[in-house]
Symmetry: C2
Subunit: 411 residues, 2 copies
């Protein structure tokens, strides 16, 4: 008799974004005449840039000719893309500890961050920021790394690190030993960042405790300020204690095109139960070769084009567009008397509701009163209660209209 | 202190195909003047067909315009592709039990077959054919579903079902209850098939024992004979006991383009530890939504094009080309006195070595003597020892040259 993985039954309701989709659909069905402004899900809206388009078409063309046709690609991705990443994302930031061989090309950071724990034993303790991107938590639950939830909706066995106004959205260094720590900067959902000094403390903690930091840098391209690191590997010693996740999704509008990568330094070591050192990169390479079959060739070719001179310029222009949206949102919300975070080095604006209104109540009020969709902070964890996320990936017109409408709402 | 998943250390050596690659590279480096004929890895060589190329380019074009740009797609894939599959692969075969909602589009069957066990408890017993596609076994090991290997290289805890000349490569129905059974037809690596009558016995077994059959039909497009089912769902009752994996990789040359799908019937039920019924499809939908972010839009558009009238014709032509290769191989090998299986409804020819020569010895002899690469049967399991796989995905010239050379080898 086939039996299910019962850990799935511990999961709370649906994944956050389908739940938002459901509520929006319900409203739209009941009010077919109302125009809805969507600033909820962090999905890009601008098309692929011309340099990417050209390379994408060229990649497709190669697949139509016997001489240039590509079958199975290298598990870890094509060298042309891995080398372009090294030159433009690693060396260009002064990082000398990472080589092209440490780069694993994939079809998405959601998959990578969801799968990475597979190579670590179930006995590791795991810490997550709160609020947090739900994938880290839900995949831990599905793999049986947690118990059930408490009254706050927190899973037994996970170490939650509250990030709020009081600690400037940088979690406190844990007082006990934690084996694996998920950190996300620029942060989703709060849009806040960590400076080099702040990340240095985490690297020191990890080195001291032989912990591993799983650093999600999916939003690094949106950083505008000089003192904010783009990569954890800008911190000395991180090559011995960190894995980094990067994506073309937000940086270059690849959410529907699918390409990302994970960086695992050659020097990253974990231990087996006898205390022997084991290369983490080798384990991930084995998983990648066994459970994944490479990223689409034309997609890899398209991704590499963001590093051409034209590609760089075009990608920067689109990012500037989104960041101007974020600026407009932030200013407008502040004028309206909201306390607002993020939006300077990330495409997310994180606001505190007024009078302690609950996040989902704020969500429901917004859609009912003014047909504006955002993301309830509590959907990202209990410390997100009373907060709300707006995404700057909408069009300029939508952002301006949405903020105007918000002024007239009674919240 | 971060600890590894120690189950990885139970894995034997490397994944089969990288090992072959390594031996071929070693030979090529030592003999740079020798031309090597590759008929080992089951990777296609013919380019994408014109209908697919056109749709692929159109899909890319849509990504370059704001109006038609696609961000995150539906988790389970676009309806245009799911509906095309239903019309052309399901209804066209007279199957009425599967709907478009049962189709999950993905980036590959390797990923799907490797990930599917995640939704089932660790306490399920698992059966695999022997020889077998290594992914089913290796991913079971990595997830901690097995012990270590015995002297035959078989993992403790897996139920191996020998497939050989004696049983016509159809495993015996197990005498004990097995919860989850991997079956692959047309079979990789043996190229053999199962008739409806034979599959019916398996469906009956699964119904009786509330087992689930994981049916890998990646090679169904190569079936030439009428009495060979293309889908397990052609068997009555399979909708209550089977999941099917399908791929565009071999059918339409998508090994480097990446698109596949999994079919989980609405009516497929497994149980929890209290004996409650749970929808398997819902569990996979939750996994898909949490750990996967959809298949590239232009790739899905390209895949759907194989169902246009031109697409169908073009895909059929390429398959006919490969199957003619298989026929040439099979005839030549038989003339040379080899006992040969497969090659009629699958692009693989499975030969028995002469005088009981070991599979890897045959591999080494072939490359040393005549620079022809195939796949050692023992790489697929201990029951594959003394067998050898040739893939028909090479060019006609290579197949003819390879077979000629084989005639002059002393094996």
């Amino acid at each position: 008799m086939a039996r299910i993985n019962e850990h799935y039954s511990k999961l709370q309701a649906g994944y956050l974004f389908p739940e938002i989709g459901r509520r929006v659909s319900n409203y739209a069905e009941a009010h077919p005449d109302k125009k809805i402004i969507k600033m909820g899900i962090g999905d890009v809206t601008k098309p692929l840039c011309p340099a990417v388009m050209q390379a994408f078409h060229e990649g497709v063309d190669e697949m139509g000719q016997e001489k240039s046709f590509k079958g199975y690609g290298p598990d870890k991705g094509y060298d042309f893309l891995r080398n372009a990443i090294i030159d433009n994302e690693i060396k260009a930031r002064g990082i000398t500890t990472i080589t092209a061989d440490d780069i694993f090309i994939s079809d998405g950071s959601k998959c990578d961050t969801g799968n990475i724990l597979e190579i670590f034993g179930l006995d590791n303790s795991i810490a997550v920021q709160d609020p947090v991107y739900p994938v880290y938590v839900d995949t831990s639950v599905m793999a049986g790394r947690t118990g059930t939830t408490n009254e706050k909706g927190q899973y037994e066995g996970l170490h939650y690190m509250p990030c709020n106004e009081e600690n400037n959205f940088i979690p406190e260094i844990p007082s006990k030993k934690i084996d694996i720590i998920f950190l996300c900067y620029p942060n989703n959902p709060t849009g806040t960042t960590a400076t080099k000094e702040e990340l240095k403390k985490w690297v020191e903690y990890a080195q001291k405790n032989k912990s591993i930091i799983l650093f999600d840098a999916a939003y690094e391209a949106f950083i505008q300020e000089d003192n904010v690191p783009h990569s954890i590997f800008e911190i000395e010693g991180a090559e011995n204690c960190a894995i980094e996740f990067r994506s073309f999704s937000k940086k270059a509008g690849f959410t529907g095109t699918r390409c990302a990568y994970t960086i695992i330094p050659e020097t990253l070591i974990a231990t087996d139960s006898k205390g022997n050192d084991v290369s983490v990169k080798k384990l991930w390479a084995r998983r990648h070769a066994t459970k994944f079959n490479g990223t689409s060739y034309p997609v890899q070719k398209a991704a590499a084009a963001i590093y051409s001179p034209e590609g760089k310029k075009q990608v920067e222009e689109t990012i500037a567009y989104y960041m101007e949206n974020a600026r407009i949102m932030k200013e407008s919300l502040q004028e309206q008397g909201f306390t607002v975070f993020g939006g300077v080095n990330a495409p997310y604006v994180w606001l505190k509701t007024k009078n302690g209104m609950k996040s989902w109540d704020f969500f429901d009020q917004l859609i009912e009163q003014i047909q504006v969709v955002g993301t309830p902070g509590s959907g990202f964890g209990s410390a997100g209660e009373g907060y709300f996320r707006f995404s700057a990936f909408a069009s300029r017109e939508q952002v301006i209209e949405g903020m105007e409408k918000l002024k007239n709402a009674s919240l």
